[in-house]
């Protein structure tokens, strides 16, 4: 029994080796670059006084963690859907736009000049409610009608932003308000950006839910073998639908962060192309895109890696024309390093080294 748990722990940690290594390599790369140009400013964290007169922390590392917030939250939801359904929801960006539109519409109903905690809470709850309806639509197509997730979510992927447009019309509402800044930037008196806390809270809630209940086991079972799950009394449809509900909550929260961060809602660009980064974060985090076992921490790490890469390239002032090419090269290296084929080769190599050294000892 003890042996069993140990081996499980070992396996769990091995999943995080690749993302941790990637993060380490990016940090070392920036260190070397800093030493080469004689300026380690990339790692410095300073304080500034923002335009509202509050002290805030500033620096690349803070920016990376802060910028990754929306992505990390969506990546958590994406991980759950991936684990349970063995596929990805590509409509998260478009559904996020709908969620943002609902959020701002409610704020508008209360009056944009007169934003209060109440209007924000009502707005967020309404946004979450509407978003869950849309993600459940996806979930029903996937869980009940057994449509491939990518095809099922293609529908909202293509029409979601039009729905958001129908909600807000041609308006690009501006939200210049202290409370909005407190959510999207910093709360007066707390120098750490608020979105970072929201990621921590979301991770804690999901982490606790999966720690204290059997949900992790159920989700993984459904992801690995639906038939076996059903025979053991687990309802695969319910588990899949639940993963979409949780994704909906994640998307709403991320959408609110971005709206507050940019002080505006634009149905066309809100969370633009976030689905691709979210899927990438799940993959870099060592999760199988085919479903089954998952680690939320891996996906969060994956998000930080993506943003660290973006931030590094921006910091190096890479020409905008070629920034995507550099990004692609680094990502392909990370993904190949984490691929099963490479992992197998490496473990086989280790075994060989191990065995030959043992043989050498025995021979002596």
């Amino acid at each position: 029994m003890i042996q069993k748990t140990n081996s499980r722990k070992k396996h769990d940690l091995s999943q995080l080796i690749i993302p941790l290594a990637a993060l380490g390599i990016l940090i070392v790369f920036n260190l070397i670059r800093g030493i080469a140009i004689g300026d380690l400013g990339f790692f410095s964290i300073t304080t500034r006084i923002n335009n509202d007169g509050n002290m805030v922390l500033s620096g690349n590392l803070i920016s990376i963690i802060d910028d990754a917030s929306a992505l990390a939250i969506i990546a958590m939801g994406m991980t759950l859907v991936t684990a349970a359904c063995g596929g990805q929801d590509i409509s998260v960006g478009a559904v996020g736009a709908i969620s943002g539109a609902v959020f701002v519409k409610v704020l508008d109903a209360f009056g944009l000049d007169n934003i209060s905690v109440l209007s924000i809470v009502v707005g967020l709850l309404a946004a979450i409610g509407v978003t869950i309806i849309f993600t459940l639509f996806n979930g029903t197509l996937v869980a009940v009608f057994k449509i491939q997730p990518m095809i099922a979510t293609l529908i909202l992927f293509s029409c979601g932003r039009s729905i958001a447009y129908m909600i807000t019309g041609s308006a690009t509402p501006q939200l210049n308000d202290k409370l909005i800044n407190a959510i999207g930037k910093t709360i007066p008196g707390i120098p750490i950006p608020t979105p970072i806390f929201l990621v921590v809270i979301m991770a804690l809630i999901l982490g606790l839910v999966f720690k204290l209940t059997n949900l992790r086991l159920y989700t993984q079972t459904v992801g690995i073998n639906q038939g076996a799950a059903r025979l053991n009394g687990i309802n695969p449809t319910a588990i899949k639908l639940l993963s979409f509900v949780l994704l909906g909550v994640c998307v709403s929260l991320a959408s609110m962060i971005q709206v507050c961060r940019l002080n505006q809602l634009s149905h066309k660009t809100l969370l633009d192309a976030i689905e691709m980064d979210a899927i990438l974060a799940v993959a870099i985090g060592g999760n199988s895109l085919g479903g089954g076992k998952f680690r939320l921490a891996g996906s969060i790490l994956g998000s930080y890696i993506i943003l660290m890469l973006t931030n590094t390239l921006n910091d190096m002032s890479v020409k905008p024309e070629s920034i995507k090419a550099y990004k692609a090269i680094v990502i392909i290296i990370i993904v190949i390093a984490g691929s099963p084929a490479v992992k197998e080769k490496i473990s086989a190599f280790w075994k060989k080294v191990h065995n030959s050294s043992r043989r050498a000892v025995a021979g002596r």
Binding site: G41, F42, R48, I49, N50, N51, D52, V56, S58, G59, N60, S63, D67, S162, Y165, G169, S170, A171, T172, P173, Q174, N181, G184, K185, T186, P193, Q258, R261, L262, N263, Q264, S266, K268, T269, D272, A273, T310, N311, N314, D315, S317, K319, P320, E321, I323
Partner: protein, 323 residues
């Protein structure tokens, strides 16, 4: 059944009589989907507001997002015997045949906003924006400030788009020519002109302690994104601030930021072509010739830039796009 048929016939006759009575200039207007952008929405509204019965027109409007639907609409208008066709083409290619048919039928064709790849003799005139001029106007405004040093954070739009090339071109040329004009950093908002990307670019520049005093963002959304990064870092901007903020497109919200002194400049990309076409049609109807066309039969739509110091609420109401 017979009753219904009779009713329909009666209705048709009434409609025919009505249209004969209306006696306006028959025009067919083919535009793109208004949901496409704030620009297009304003453009469609401009057309419907100008070509009205009170203004002496009998106009039919079609908004179609694709080339084949637009071509069908154009053929329909030719069959209906309209006097003029106005087109903002979804696709520059494939118009030769239809334009020739229209010409043979004696129908005048006006292109607006978007050009087509066809011989200039096939259309009466084209009203278009000059993207190069938009950039030049903005750079000339910047030069007129007479700053000692121009340290620019340049945020480009969708790379390769006409708007990006025009707006970047003038700035790049100026920075090459003048020693005190430097581009500190440049980045792009990508294909969707994403404000979030613009914010990250500005954030990276701030984190690296780059010294810049101008943000040249190629549309309003990206300017707003960059400003969010400035606000967070406590860098003042606008009329009394450290950093000069420049945007393009003249959305209402951007012009309001100008009026409040938070931004400094906004360049117009005018969606208002209806009035120019209206004037040309009236001239043709009066038997006069259209003047001022270039070798491509184009008229360049006059576009302005707004300065935070001189903008008025009236400008916002007249020129602002969206809400």
């Amino acid at each position: 059944m017979k009753k219904i048929l009779a009713l329909v016939l009666a209705l048709v006759m009434v409609l025919c009589a009505a249209s004969a009575l209306a006696d306006g200039i028959k025009v067919g207007i083919i535009n793109l989907d208004p949901a496409e952008s704030g620009y297009r929405e304003a453009n469609v509204k401009d057309m419907t507001d100008t070509f009205t019965a009170e203004n002496g027109y009998e106009a039919t409007f079609v908004t179609a997002p694709t080339a084949d639907k637009q071509l069908d609409a154009a053929r329909g208008f030719i069959a209906d015997g309209v006097k003029y066709i106005l087109v903002s083409a979804a696709d520059a290619d494939g118009w030769d045949e239809v334009l020739q048919e229209a010409k043979d039928a004696g129908i005048g064709v006006f292109l607006f906003d978007r050009m087509v790849n066809a011989d200039p003799s096939l259309y009466t005139a084209a009203v278009v924006s000059d993207m190069d001029k938009e950039g030049e106007t903005a750079v000339a405004w910047l030069e007129s400030l007479g700053l000692e040093e121009y340290k620019i954070l340049h945020i480009k739009g969708q790379l390769g788009s006409a708007a990006q090339l025009g707006r970047s071109g003038a700035l790049d040329k100026k920075c090459e020519a003048e020693a005190n004009w430097t581009i500190v950093r440049e980045g792009t908002g990508g294909d969707s002109w994403d404000p979030e990307e613009a914010r990250k670019i500005a954030q990276a520049a701030i984190d690296a302690n780059e010294d810049f005093n101008i943000i040249y963002a190629e549309n309003d959304g990206m300017a707003q994104g960059a400003v969010a990064a400035l606000d967070k870092a406590g860098i003042t901007h606008g009329v009394d601030g450290k950093v000069i903020v420049m945007g393009f497109d003249c959305n209402k919200y951007a012009l309001r930021e100008l009026l409040a002194g938070n931004w400094n400049y906004d360049g117009q990309c005018s969606p208002f072509q209806a009035k120019l076409i209206d004037e040309m049609i009236k001239k043709l109807e009066a038997g006069e010739a259209i003047e001022g066309l270039n070798e491509l039969n184009q008229i360049i739509n006059n576009e302005v830039g707004f300065d935070a110091k001189t903008i008025t609420q009236e400008d916002i109401d007249t020129y602002g796009l969206g809400e």
